[in-house]
């Protein structure tokens, strides 16, 4: 049994590696077509990613990985429970606002506690926001894809309104700095000086592990997945499927909201700008989750991969536009959709080998 699980994981990892290789090769080809003289240098920097200028680049990579790890978990958790959470962006910005609000206005809290309260507040805000989609799905049969798309826009408009009303820096048309609730940098300060990475990354890893435990090792997680697999069968088996749909969505929202807090409580000068643009981190959660087949532990690595490549993009931007990284990632994702084929090839190979041994 245990051996089977391992083999399944091995196959998934193998399929991912193949997709990544294809994506990288495509990227190299495009670079060669664009500018042959710089192609290999640029490609080298893209590949080096977080290792371009150690230790600094590595810290930057972890900093970039932090919010997309959470939005990836959000999307992945929803997928595992049969929901498509395309609204991670909205939950992300709502959570980010809650965190900033607490960091700016709740100055009665000592900073050592304020950031934790900020994270919790963001989770509550994200959960409530996503809960709207969940409740509409469970009780009114409204497709969660459509409500979460709509709520993304509403979230941006609402947050803009609230930022202007409560935590506004008028001269710069953005939110004030939540200085009281900046997430401490802890040991990262010594490891990676002058970078953005903070203890939030540790929080993110712990949360990923908790989500994995909930999904795979608890009855609660089993019920959530059962509802996702077949809503009616789950109800027949005695699961309160309506409540579970709402809960799934709320947990997904809490994760995305936490992602917002982890970004906006960084002492790196990020603010919520008052513009009508949906934050990209939420959408980036989709590829992060898909690359890892929605496995929470896998998401730790897929978010690192994306952050690694994006950091590489930063170091190659003197040679090529950084968008080449997104082209590569899109190719990787495209071919990871084919994972079935690579898996079946591997399966055949393993069977042959097994047959010989026996």
């Amino acid at each position: 049994m245990f051996k089977n699980v391992n083999q399944e994981a091995l196959k998934t990892i193998f399929a991912s590696v193949v997709s990544i290789l294809i994506g990288l090769i495509m990227g190299l080809l495009i670079l060669l077509v664009t500018d042959p003289s710089n192609a290999f240098l640029g490609f080298q920097r893209a590949l080096l990613g977080g290792f371009n200028r150690l230790p600094r680049s590595f810290g930057e990579m972890l900093y970039q990985a932090t919010p997309i790890l959470l939005t990836g978990l959000s999307v992945g958790f929803a997928f595992k429970t049969g929901l498509f959470n395309i609204g991670a962006s909205g939950q992300f910005i709502v959570g980010g606002f809650a965190a900033i609000f607490i960091g700016v206005r709740w100055t009665f809290l000592p900073p050592s506690i304020a950031w934790i309260v900020g994270l919790l507040g963001a989770m509550v805000a994200g959960a409530l926001w996503a809960g709207i989609s969940g409740a509409l799905k469970a009780y009114r049969n409204v497709n969660e894809v459509i409500t979460s798309i709509m709520l993304n826009y509403v979230a941006v408009f609402l947050v803009n309104f609230l930022v202007v009303a409560t935590v506004f820096n008028q001269t710069r048309n953005e939110s004030l700095s939540p200085t009281n609730a900046f997430i401490p940098r802890g040991f990262f300060n010594d490891l990676f000086p002058r970078t953005g990475v903070h203890m939030g990354y540790v929080v993110a890893i712990v949360v990923a592990i908790i989500i994995w435990i909930i999904l795979e090792k608890t009855t609660f997680g089993f019920e959530l997945r059962a509802v996702g697999f077949n809503r009616h069968a789950a109800r027949y088996a005695g699961v309160n499927e309506k409540r579970n749909i709402v809960l799934s969505m709320m947990i997904a929202g809490a994760l995305a909201g936490l992602g917002g807090a982890l970004l906006y409580l960084s002492a790196t000068g990020v603010h919520i700008e008052v513009v009508d643009v949906i934050p990209l981190q939420g959408f980036n959660g989709i590829p992060v989750a898909l690359l890892a087949s929605s496995n929470p532990i896998g998401i730790i690595f897929s978010s690192l991969l994306l952050a690694h490549l994006n950091t590489g993009g930063f170091y190659m931007q003197t040679l090529f536009p950084t968008e080449i990284i997104n082209i590569m990632v899109s190719v990787i994702i495209y071919f990871s959709a084919f994972a079935m084929i690579t898996k079946s090839i591997l399966e055949k190979y393993l069977k042959q080998k097994g047959g010989k041994n026996a």
Partner: protein, 316 residues
Amino acid sequence: MNLPFLVQQTMFFAIPLMVVALGGMFSEQSGVINIGLEGIMIFSTFMGILVLNIFVGIIPAQFLFILALLVAGIAGMIFSSLHAYASVYQKANQVISGTALNMFAPAFFNFTMRNQTGSNQLYFLNQYRIPKVAILGDIPVIGPLFFTNTYISTYIGLVILAIAVFVFYKTRFGLRLRACGEHPQAADAAGINVYRMRTYGVLISGLLAGMGGLILTIPTTTAFGGSVAGYGFLALAVLIFGQWKPSRIVFAAFFFGTMKTIAATYTSIPILVGLGIPGYLFKSVPYLTTILVLAFTSKKSVAPKALGEPYDKGKR
């Protein structure tokens, strides 16, 4: 309050949404989720505007616009064939390959633009507006509403609607397509090539999403920045709101377009200004009203039964 202006604005929002959602309908009714509409719109708009810029001054404006629409449609078909190949023949997860298209298109646009011009704004000449349609524009009431300050794309959108309804309901192709999305095994048993029908479904969605991207972009701006502002996703929402049926999609698109127009121009409507709702919140009106309407109408909403399931001949 200026009624013709409001109607024209509504058209600019509603027609592209309708066209793209109709495209999505063909894909999803055949059983393939197409979340890549956004990416297809971006890619095709890029191609369409390139055509506009190459032939500007050589070909008369309106003919050029039609040519660009065709090119955008073909570009959309070619781009969507990637999705068709993955989701139909490789039995890939349809959400994944659609997401890949969404990610590729803006990256490709920005990479190419930055590399070639250093900027990521693609400008085009604003010469496609029709101030007044001959004869029809002089009809009282209807003339100013529908035949002044308009774009040829609006009428093309309506023609597309007519063709789509006809193909969907009145042809053997439409019936077979729907069968593939509802019960592919039965369709296969009846001698229909499910793989081919689904490929057609996705390609039609690429064609219409491609045209829709240009229909949206040309009237509303003079520079394309590699984004269609989430209209691909909104079209997906309109498709679901419209319960995967043409007549309801038209209603949903115009409902949303009207709300969007009201939200964008509410300052010119005295009754609404009097309500004293802050502007930031007013922008949410189209999205909130859509959710509200859905909350009261979705109880019986049914998606095509086999939507999202790759068809495997060998599986029973």
